[in-house]
Symmetry: C2
């Protein structure tokens, strides 16, 4: 397959018409064209190579040399535009670079070591810039590669937002705080007010920048309501919280009745349990790839809110369905070994983010929580195997010998 | 003067008609009827004795034996009703006792040792229950007696609010937090939402209870806009902030051109500077006493927000006018002596509040700030005297020899 004809990667030749693009992308085949981003990469900017390298089963290849370049561009490229991004409940900005790359900006709102107030419901929690960054690293370490790359960056709020924005509604919310810091609050449905302003020191602000996915007109996505979605109510429980046999009905309904969708959802639950993210109400897929494709893990800002407590209900899909991909299981077992301890791998991975020079992106308490939660996941899996034997493992590694748990 | 005919105290015989009451109270004379609350006190509940003891120059006498009883009633009397109090921007409740006494309830919203976020403007700051309590003690220690008594109390949110309230709008905002604590948020213009709910542990909540002043129908009050009011804008400055000679014009305008009004305002500025309260936009007086009367220092919840920083602009009335009551000066000088150190007197005074058993109402850092700020006030006064000599002192102690500063 060559660029422009592969249908398992996004091939977006600069001269192609949108209409013909969309036509081509709707067709789909199996197999990942690993040569693709290698062959087409030299003349394209990193963000475009990233878009072109997205495959049916992952956002990027685990050996993709473009990843480092993409991260560097997010971290250091000049910001030429910054406007508010509508949709969602909390403030975020869309930033653009000279090479037409774009990134989603989320500002630091809480001190890194602050734990979420335990009286707040998951749907009232702040979004955390460092959670977005750490989620990307964790997803990559777990071998999922379903979260678009995110880096930390120090932003000059005046030169890189206020002075260059064409968004008047945004510009109007800038002010100077009593101690002389530059602040703004934007317009959104939660926490967009003077009382919750985002402030720099004095005008330098920590933020996360996530690379944007291909435009929806080029690569339409489908949003799926998670069967294990919470009620988003203070008083109501969701169906899965009352019904231990909930998975039986999920297993029978498409798309969970076929292919890897169910084990993909369980992968997502494991990721979310490890980082204690209770806010996974939806997930997305690329329409082009139909139902046989990976799940995008977008919007991770409410992860890593609490290190002192684990939230067992996040594991409900695993506990209720007792299914797991063999590849995921092997990865988890590896990361539980002393020499590949998850916390150590995460610490090393996060240390390459530019913001680490200010302070570690995750406190040691959060790293310790990762190890503790990993043990919990493995324990739950052992209990599953005691109950259901080999049916627990979904063998996604053809030819791989079954050594058991 | 006997009870019922004295017009310098509020005399409210239980049999009197409101209309005749109001008629009597509009007339006024000089002098404080110290015998009044002693003679009429035995058959009245503490709150009524407090109302009857209010004089032209103070809310209560410094030796008033009723004060302790009043505080005890606020702290321990059964709560028979709790409804939201309208007016003002933040949540507060009106509570009633079996003897018909009433108190204004303000809940604990911040941890005691938290400092106000330095990027928040004074008009966005939370109100603090311990500030209301500490302000009452400080005002009393300074000899002003212009703040109605306030005590701390542990409230059972279920039995003492939710179960007894007739306020449906309030009851509807109760919920149980994710960790099982009882929470509510009420209805108001600031901070009345799930995200800012007030939560107990699990249903016990710290709060301040301030005794209510006589009903406005009995004792109408006048509200005065402070000449040194802040702009309540993030960008605009008030007139007094740009004009060093601002006091010249204030001095010439009634009611500041006559009597003690100007030095009373300066007393208030000193109190506010000591406790770092920037939110004194208005003050009140009792209409009955006309212009020659004390100023009520109500609403002190935004004091004691920061101990690490002083706010010199609060002292503008003193610095710009260079006037002070002799009695206030003597009190300040006394409280600067090692044996009567303000922080020590405050610590001892606060220790009689019931909430002290949970934790000190003011941290040592706040107490240290009081001493530091007192030194600043005395320095400013010394500079005034170097400039204006004896004209600085308003001699409110007839016959007292002028020993200078």
């Amino acid at each position: 397959a060559t660029a422009g004809s592969s249908t398992d990667c996004f091939s977006i030749p600069s001269s192609a018409h949108l209409s013909s693009m969309i036509g081509r992308m709707s067709d789909s085949e199996e197999g990942y064209d690993a040569a693709h981003w290698n062959s087409s990469s030299q003349s394209h900017p990193p963000w475009l190579r990233f878009h072109l390298g997205i495959s049916r089963w992952q956002l990027y290849d685990h050996k993709d040399p473009n990843l480092r370049q993409l991260e560097e561009q997010l971290a250091f490229s000049r910001i030429v535009s910054a406007v508010q991004k509508t949709g969602g409940t909390q403030l975020k900005l869309l930033m653009s670079f000279p090479n037409y790359g774009q990134a989603l900006f989320k500002p630091m709102k809480q001190e890194r070591n602050e734990e979420t107030n335990h009286n707040l419901y998951y749907f009232s929690d702040f979004e955390r810039h460092n959670a977005e960054i750490a989620a990307y690293h964790l997803d990559r370490i777990l071998g999922f590669r379903r979260i678009p790359p995110v880096v930390g960056r120090l932003i000059d709020m005046v030169k890189e937002i206020k002075d260059i924005t064409t968004d008047r509604k945004l510009a109007r919310t800038f002010f100077t705080s009593p101690v002389g810091n530059t602040c703004f609050y934007g317009q959104c449905s939660y926490y967009c007010s003077t009382e919750h302003a985002v402030c720099g020191r004095p005008h330098v602000l920590e933020a996360s920048l996530a690379v944007m996915l291909p435009d929806l007109s080029l690569a339409p996505r489908r949003s799926w309501r998670s069967p294990w979605r919470r009620s988003y109510s203070r008083s109501k429980l969701a169906q899965w919280e009352n019904n231990a046999k909930y998975c039986e009905s999920v297993k029978k309904s498409p798309p969970y009745s076929q292919g890897t969708r169910l084990v993909d959802l369980i992968d997502m639950a494991i990721l979310d349990f490890l980082m204690s993210n209770m806010d996974r109400h939806h997930y997305e897929t690329f329409e082009k790839f139909g139902n046989n494709t990976f799940l995008l893990h977008l919007d991770n800002g409410r992860a890593f809110g609490r290190h002192s407590k684990d939230e067992p209900s996040i594991l409900a899909p695993l506990v209720q369905c007792c299914r797991i991909r063999r590849s995921t299981l092997l990865k988890l077992q590896l990361l539980a070994l002393p020499q590949y301890r998850l916390s150590d791998v995460m610490r090393a991975s996060l240390s390459r983010d530019p913001l680490t020079s200010i302070a570690p992106l995750l406190s040691e308490q959060h790293l310790t929580a990762l190890d503790r939660r990993l043990v919990t996941v493995l324990k739950k899996l052992r209990r599953c195997q005691e109950q259901y034997n080999d049916s627990v493992i979904y063998n996604d590694i053809p030819g791989h010998l079954n050594f058991g748990l």
